[in-house]
């Protein structure tokens, strides 16, 4: 695997190919499992189709009463989840290597810069195709298990459609990274563009005659194909547009890379450039900087910006859900009134939990994602902790008279603070949204639902810290990402597969329950806290005794 840059890069992606391929495959299979129970009678099918039509902003509600159609519909805007990997990988591909200084050596081999970049891009595309293959096969197997009417070709074309949209966002990240001095901003800007493009695509499903506008988004062309729906099929034109975009964007990125200074950015015209710092050397020291006073303060300073963006995303998502619920409730009331057998309500309850209030019921369905996202935030922070160990950044910190346990706990305390900030701000934003939209909701339950996510985030972080006692960054992040996907699968698919209570108890989401509807069960959440505390204590013990960066 070390015979070429292509093979070496592909080798670097091997864990991601398996992790993301299987993880995303499970995410796609999970709605197939749940829909089987929702479409057992014609009345239920009609109710589900009617319900889906109210959520058209999410995805085209085409044949939502079939396994393939429901899976396509349910994945909807969650395409962002799948695009995260190529976005991170492409921003790391050249800019990340420049950050580490490893590109200098690579460019000293007798290959042109363009050749180096092309081989790296080719490796990423190959990795995406491998992921697509895994996702396609899992989708096919899931379809067979739940009696879907699409075949292996449908599953594989679905994977191909995903691979192409991922390649487009990989191309955007590669292009953007030519203009940013570090890989972080490149990933951030591409992530923001991904969000914007998802919204742009949504517009034509909500506002009539705006197709022309949505065509500006690559997501639009991704959604033109619905291979899991044999009656709808694949848009060859859509796939070709995605392929063309991926090629053009990647080629532009490579072209700019081949012409700029290594370690520098593409020079922009004067007006959009940031002001330059003072040319004269500075000898002053920031003696009053609060973020330099302790490991805890430094850790807090380090995660301040990521926390800010995640908090903004959480608060906006939660507030948007509440406002969306208010708008949906009116329409759903009409559907429910015209459904004397209450099939639509059954469908909704099976998605969002048992509740008498329509607002709470709808929010229960929508809020199920928030704890998963908070745990994903914790996973990113665990990644930072293990990377600091692997890269030797703790070596000088540990040469100061700080007990090792204090270093670990200081870091964890900063993460805990960040999750509390995320929770509190999200709660405040939700409160404002409730007041503005007039949604009828038990505010105590809302507070418990949002603040109850914090122990879940800290649990996965503690497990990640514990695993970091033995594992390197990629393995540790892969392990806890897989754990998160497995928990998600157990809690959201397990009940439909009639898994035993003992199995369902393996997932922390079981203990989280449905607090928006039924409040937080203190006994259950105490279990999560206790397991997290034990994991953190063991992580501290291990870190105090382990060899650093060996």
């Amino acid at each position: 695997m070390f015979r070429s840059i292509f093979l070496k890069t592909l080798r670097d992606y091997r864990v991601a190919i398996l992790g993301w391929g299987i993880g995303m495959g499970l995410v796609i299979v999970s709605p197939m499992a749940s829909v089987a129970a929702l479409i057992s009678t014609p009345a239920q099918r009609a109710a589900l189709a009617g319900l889906a039509a109210q959520f058209a902003w999410n995805a085209d509600p085409i044949a939502a009463d079939t396994v393939g159609g429901y899976a396509t519909f349910k994945i909807g805007i969650f395409v962002f989840l799948i695009c995260v990997w190529p976005l991170l990988a492409a921003s790391r591909m050249l800019r990340g290597e420049e950050d580490r200084g490893s590109l200098d050596v690579l460019l000293s081999v007798p290959r042109s810069r363009a050749q180096v970049a092309v081989q790296k891009v080719a490796a990423m595309w190959t990795a995406l195709l491998a992921m697509a293959l895994i996702i396609g096969v899992l989708a096919y197997l899931g379809g067979r298990a739940f009696k879907a009417d699409f075949g292996l070709d449908g599953g594989l074309l679905f994977g191909l459609d995903l691979a192409l949209i991922c390649a487009v966002f990989g191309g955007i990240a590669l292009l953007v990274s030519q203009f940013t001095p570090e890989r972080g901003p490149a990933a951030g800007i591409t992530g923001a563009l991904l969000g914007i493009f998802i919204v742009v695509d949504m517009v034509h499903r909500v506002i009539p005659n705006t197709d022309w506008f949505s065509r500006l988004s690559p997501i639009y062309y991704y959604n033109l194909s619905k291979p899991l729906l044999p009656s709808y099929g694949v848009s060859v034109g859509g796939l070709l547009v995605l392929l063309g975009l991926a090629v053009v964007l990647s080629a532009a990125g490579i072209w700019l890379f081949a012409r700029r200074d290594v370690g520098a950015t593409v020079r922009l015209p004067a007006w959009p450039r940031l002001p330059q710092g003072a040319a004269a050397p500075v000898r002053a020291l920031p003696a009053t900087d609060w973020s330099l006073r302790s490991v805890y303060a430094r850790s807090l300073g380090t995660i301040a910006w990521p926390t800010f963006w995640w908090t903004l995303g959480f608060a906006a998502f939660a507030a948007w859900e509440i406002v969306a619920v208010h708008q949906l409730a009116g329409k759903l009331t009409t559907i429910l009134a015209s459904d004397p057998n209450g099939r639509a309500l059954q469908v909704l309850q099976s998605v969002g939990g048992k509740a008498s209030g329509l607002d709470a019921l709808l929010l229960g369905a929508l809020f199920e994602l928030l704890p998963v996202l908070l745990m994903a935030f914790a996973v990113t922070q665990v990644n930072g902790w293990t990377a600091d160990q692997d890269d030797g950044r703790l070596e000088i910190v540990l040469s100061t008279p700080q007990p090792r346990v204090n270093v670990l706990l200081g870091r964890f305390a900063a993460l805990a603070t960040a999750t509390v900030v995320v929770g509190v701000v999200t709660l405040a934003a939700s409160g404002v949204a409730i007041a503005v939209s007039g949604v009828s909701l038990d505010t105590t339950n809302l507070a418990e639902a949002i603040l109850g996510m914090i122990p879940l985030g800290l649990l996965i972080a503690a497990i990640g810290y514990l695993a970091a006692g033995w594992l390197r960054t990629a393995a540790d992040t892969g392990l806890i990402s897989f754990l998160l996907a497995a928990w998600f699968f157990i809690s959201f698919v397990g009940p439909d597969l009639k898994w035993s209570e003992a199995t369902l108890r393996l997932s922390p989401f079981y203990y989280y329950g449905t607090p928006l509807l039924h409040g937080l069960q203190l006994g259950n959440i105490a279990v999560v806290v206790a397991v997290g505390a034990v994991a953190l204590a063991l992580a501290s013990l291990r870190f105090a005794r382990k060899d650093i960066a060996v």
Binding site: D99, L285, P286, G392, E395, S399, T400, P401, Q402, V550
Partner: protein, 307 residues
């Protein structure tokens, strides 16, 4: 003088791979001790055990009478440390890094810290990632010296420094020595150790092979002279000269390679009796010295030799 660093029968392996084997030495307080060895010899492993970053499989390591692992926090109050491969938060400026470590060490004399920044002419406003290799090294050196530690443990500290800053570093080491502080300095550059250290230990393949005063290093500080003549010369003539340790006849006898110790005066005068075509002098690397002195007889010493 009392020993401030005591290492006895220290061993460490990484899985099945050799780290260090049965290493023992002492460093007296106020001493500048050089720890010499080629790459991969075990210098960094020894230092990382002293710093409690890794744990020895067996043996004892103590600083100021305390066990390096069990009392690591107390020991680190006394130490300034430069790692072999320094890695710091790339998003912090040099100034922020220095202030951060000043706080973690319980505060430092800001006047002294500013003085060090001036001496090394460090621009504290740039992010660590933007520094050149030499400037990164300056930041790491300043953080090691800024709290005037009783013991300085420096792993190849001048790697990447330009000659002017190397001079500044030498001055700092001399100041530390004059103030009675101890410096433990690892290097694979013989001349660097020779400049700054009073005593040295030499480690090779994980084993301490030699320890003693710097003056006693002369016997291993050999160099070579190769002389080409216009016609064959009697090589045995050079063997008897002062400073010649070994003679090798080359080509058809019209060239000699001499292993030298000390002055070359006698050799130059003897060579001048014949028509000299060329004369080249070569100072062997430490690696060459090791190869010659510890492998030429086919048996590397297993225990440290006192000179």
């Amino acid at each position: 003088m009392t020993a401030i660093i005591e290492v006895k029968s220290l061993s460490k392996s990484y899985g099945g791979k050799r780290g260090i084997v049965d290493v023992s030495f002492e460093v007296a307080e106020g001493e500048v001790f050089g720890f010499l060895g080629p790459n991969g010899a075990g210098k960094t492993t020894t230092i990382r055990i002293l710093m409690a970053l890794i744990r020895a499989d067996k043996g004892m390591a103590r600083i100021a009478g305390r066990d390096c692992w069990d009392d690591s926090v107390a020991i680190k109050r006394l130490i300034g440390y430069v790692p072999g491969e320094p890695a710091l938060d790339p998003n912090l400026t040099g100034g922020q890094i220095l202030e951060y470590f000043a706080h973690l060490r319980g505060g430092v004399d800001q006047g002294y810290l500013k003085g060090l920044v001036e001496r090394f002419e460090l621009d504290t406003s740039r992010k660590f990632r933007q520094y050149s290799t030499g400037n990164k090294r300056k930041v790491v050196l300043i953080q090691a010296f800024m709290h005037r530690p009783r013991v300085l443990i420096l792993d190849e500290p001048t790697s990447g420094l330009d000659p002017l800053n190397q001079l500044e570093f030498d001055n700092l080491v001399k100041e530390a020595r004059d103030e009675g502080r101890t410096v433990f300095l690892s290097s694979h550059v013989l001349s660097e150790v020779e400049k700054t250290c009073t005593r040295v230990g030499i480690i090779r393949e994980g084993t301490l092979v030699r320890i003693g005063d710097i003056a006693d290093l002369k016997d291993i500080k050999r160099y070579e002279i190769t002389i080409h003549f216009a016609r064959p010369v009697p090589a045995e003539m050079f063997a008897r000269l002062e400073g010649v340790a070994d003679v090798e006849q080359l080509e058809d006898g019209s060239a000699v390679r001499l292993a030298m110790q000390g002055s070359a005066d006698a050799v130059i005068k003897a060579a001048a009796q014949y028509p000299v075509v060329s004369l080249t002098s070569y100072e062997p690397s430490l690696e060459d010295i090791f190869l010659r002195y510890y492998e030429s007889d086919g048996s590397a010493p297993k225990e440290a030799a006192r000179v």
